[in-house]
């Protein structure tokens, strides 16, 4: 930004960005590397906001669970790439929004196209399972699964679906011939149950 006009344009963009966040009820947005420190900071920030607003304990716990698993999905999976490309090193976008009836936790990160089929199958399989089936799958995976090098247990998606009791909504958008942007959103009802 080397002149006044650019600065003004940028500040106008910031205002539009702010309005857009408000319109979508976004309370937290982050783009960058997702580290353990970031995970701790975001969960504790959201936790203290929820507790200030007297959100029921059950809702607070669910939001906490979903946030941790979503953030760890990025930190443990998005960096499976050897590329130096900035898109691929545990980076991603992370959003929390709070509406009248529910919280949403949304993540976006780059994935190689050849993972799309695997991810789609995994998510579809989890989405069509009922409570009992998910419980059995979780137990099976906990018993038989191995921790990945980065400490992933392959349980995150199952846990999110179990905690939210809602389908995992996801979408892939093309970035290039080899890569896509993987978006995932989970909603947590604010009704106490």
């Amino acid at each position: 930004m080397d002149n006044k006009k650019d600065v003004k344009g940028f500040l106008e963009f910031v205002y539009e960005f702010y309005k857009s966040m408000k319109a979508h009820e976004i309370t937290l947005v982050y783009e960058g590397e997702i580290t353990h420190q970031i995970t701790k900071a975001f969960t504790s920030l959201t936790e203290s906001n929820m507790s200030k607003e007297d959100e029921p304990n059950s809702v607070q716990r669910k939001v906490f669970h979903v946030m941790v698993e979503c953030l760890q999905n990025i930190s443990k999976h998005a960096d499976d790439f050897t590329s130096n490309d900035y898109l691929f090193s545990g980076r991603g976008i992370f959003l929390v929004s709070k509406g009248e009836d529910e919280y949403s936790v949304t993540t976006g990160n780059a994935v190689e196209n050849d993972k799309i089929e695997y991810l789609t199958e995994l998510l579809e399989n989890i989405n069509k399972m009922d409570k009992e089936e998910l419980k059995e799958l979780y137990k099976k995976q906990m018993k038989e699964g191995r921790l990945s090098e980065k400490g992933g247990a392959g349980l995150g998606f199952i846990d999110i679906k179990r905690k939210t009791n809602k389908e995992l909504e996801y979408h892939f958008l093309p970035i290039s011939d080899d890569t896509s942007f993987f978006l995932l959103t989970s909603t947590i009802s604010r009704a106490d149950n």
Binding site: N57, R61, E69, M142, K143, G152, L155
Partner: protein
């Protein structure tokens, strides 16, 4: 044998393993950055303890939160205790959960389904 005393933090549980005073407890929150290395000393300690355990072992879990990666390591601990039980040792797991936390109570039930060891649910 040596005791393990680890202070809890916002992302790691408090751990007390004290053979002499018969205290076996994991409590608080568990989402360590590296679950395997965090729980490694606990599993090592249990391996050593299993060779010469007390006449009765009451192992308390009093967790308020654990992430999915921790759930796998907690199962490893429970399986170690199951192994001791299978060898005829007197083991009791006490799974404490906040009384309004259904998910934590269900997590206890699930563990008790997987491992064959005396298991008690304790609401607080």
């Amino acid at each position: 044998m040596e005791t393990i005393k680890i202070q809890g933090t916002e992302d790691t549980p408090k751990i007390m393993l004290d053979k002499e005073n018969e205290i076996f407890e994991i409590s608080g929150r568990s989402l360590p950055e590296d679950v395997s290395s965090f729980y490694e000393p606990v599993l090592n300690w249990l391996n050593e303890y299993a060779e010469n355990p007390n006449s009765k072992t009451v192992f308390n879990f009093k967790l308020t939160y654990f992430n999915t990666a921790s759930s796998k390591l907690l199962l490893d601990i429970l399986m170690k205790l199951e192994e001791m039980h299978e060898k005829g040792q007197d083991i009791l797991i006490r799974w404490h959960y906040p009384e309004d936390d259904e998910d934590m109570s269900e997590a206890g039930e699930e563990y008790s389904d997987i491992v064959d060891v005396p298991f008690e649910q304790v609401p607080y």
